[in-house]
Symmetry: none
């Protein structure tokens, strides 16, 4: 199947960089390289690494990428997943199986249909992939609005990282090159909120604001239960797919609730003063 025609231009959608591929704590450099190669096969060029175990740049990755890294340009490095997704407006967490997290679970096809809609509205999408051994941890999954799972034979499920990236890239390419490829489904894509989804940094800012107030009001207690409580609350809001306006409304709600009430008898409408 190999074959590169260097006389042709990079085959990308004008103005759409495609979803960012974010590898969280990848282990072998070689696997980062094959993931990069899988990306570029479908025109994806935004690769971000969170704490790569074997460091970056990496000679094994360079070899395995077979020239793909030249197409990718600058690979971005991060210590925290939160920072890697800060500019993204919709994030998917790739998991091999459904988890006990109440979050929409979508196939690569549905996710890339949504991605096209998000990009058309000016947003940016990213896909989180976990390390080879154990995948994403629950905190990373919580950072995503939806879970991406490849439907596979449950009696033998052994897709590797590059294969998962191939499927995502393939679906993205299909959705963005509709005119050039046949498409037997014709099914519509997900509804997009007006103005698109909020950037992840804004959503995280709301979470931290809420959690800081909940700490101050003794809600996230006892300490050993705090992480799970925080995850549950974050997941609940992530499921909604918040817009920037909604994030601002929620921050306003938290700020309003922690202020002393205007009236002693709650439930009555406020009087005419808005100060």
């Amino acid at each position: 199947m190999a074959g590169t025609d260097r006389t042709k231009h990079q085959d990308r959608v004008p103005g759409a960089p495609g979803p960012a591929v974010i590898l969280v704590a990848p282990q072998l450099g070689e696997n980062v390289g094959t993931a990069a190669r899988a990306m570029v096969n479908f025109g994806l060029t935004d690769l971000r690494l969170v704490r790569p175990r074997d460091g970056w740049p990496n000679a094994y990755a360079l070899t395995a990428a077979s020239g793909a890294l030249e197409h990718i340009g600058r690979v971005r490095l991060y210590d925290r997943t939160e920072d890697a997704i800060a500019d993204l407006t919709r994030v998917y967490a790739t998991t091999a199986r459904r988890r006990d997290i109440v979050k929409p679970t979508v196939t690569p096809r549905a996710a890339m249909a949504e991605t096209q809609a998000v990009e058309a509205a000016g947003g940016r999408v990213g896909i989180l992939f976990g390390g080879e051994r154990s995948g994403l941890n629950n905190d990373d999954v919580t950072l995503a609005q939806a879970v991406l799972t490849v439907p596979v034979n449950q009696a033998f499920a052994s897709l590797n990282l590059a294969q998962a990236v191939v499927l995502v890239g393939y679906e993205y390419f299909q959705h963005t090159h509709n005119a050039q490829t046949d498409d037997d489904t014709g099914r519509g894509s997900a509804p997009m909120p007006q103005g698109g989804f909020a950037p992840a940094a804004e959503v995280l800012g709301f979470f931290e604001h809420l959690e800081s107030e909940l700490d101050a009001h003794n809600f996230l207690y006892p300490p050993e239960k705090r992480p799970a409580m925080v995850r549950n609350i974050r997941n609940l809001f992530q499921r909604a797919g918040l817009t920037l306006q909604e994030v601002r409304t929620l921050r306003g709600i938290v700020s309003a609730l922690v202020r002393p009430p205007r009236k002693q008898r709650r439930g009555l409408p406020p009087e005419g003063d808005s100060g």
Copy 2:
């Protein structure tokens, strides 16, 4: 992405073995093994080899297959491609690029849609894949009714055999497991939470609780904007599809936030008293 649940049955369509994967003059045993593994991920179990360079059985293939060959059973060996496809009613030849052959060229998606139709009519489908170096020769391509080409970035096209097999298997699985996978409706595809969604009365109770506190804290102001603000806030939470436990958590959050804080310096962990 790895994970096999051996308690589950092989996930196949009753009566449909899926398309046969026919590797013509493959070179490295390892690549035969990874192709087998890619097949079984999507429930395909009919593997046929035409003149494998390194012979069969092959120890490298066995290792690379990671147990997939147990699911495949007997791998059939042939000297000639003609014999390998003798029982098939429709054959696709996989090529990296269009050739000067007047033949329908289809994507994996279209080919697997056709495959499903062929199987429904009692026929059998096979996909020819060429060797690592040069692919299928023209005589082999001529044996097929159609050419299968993966749409890729023409500026960097380096899909390997296993990745091409993954795409074919994925599309077959999508077409034959429609009922079990979500579709492009995207955000509507949230899984049912354990215990189900909260009764509407509970959700409304939370809304009234929240809105009464927001009134008391002068947030839903001015009065002429109150109805729209209430609708926006309710919609945001409704999109999440709340469970009863989450409704209780949200009520707890509202109650906690309107209480005076325990500590003047917010953000510090609370002390040992939980009262």
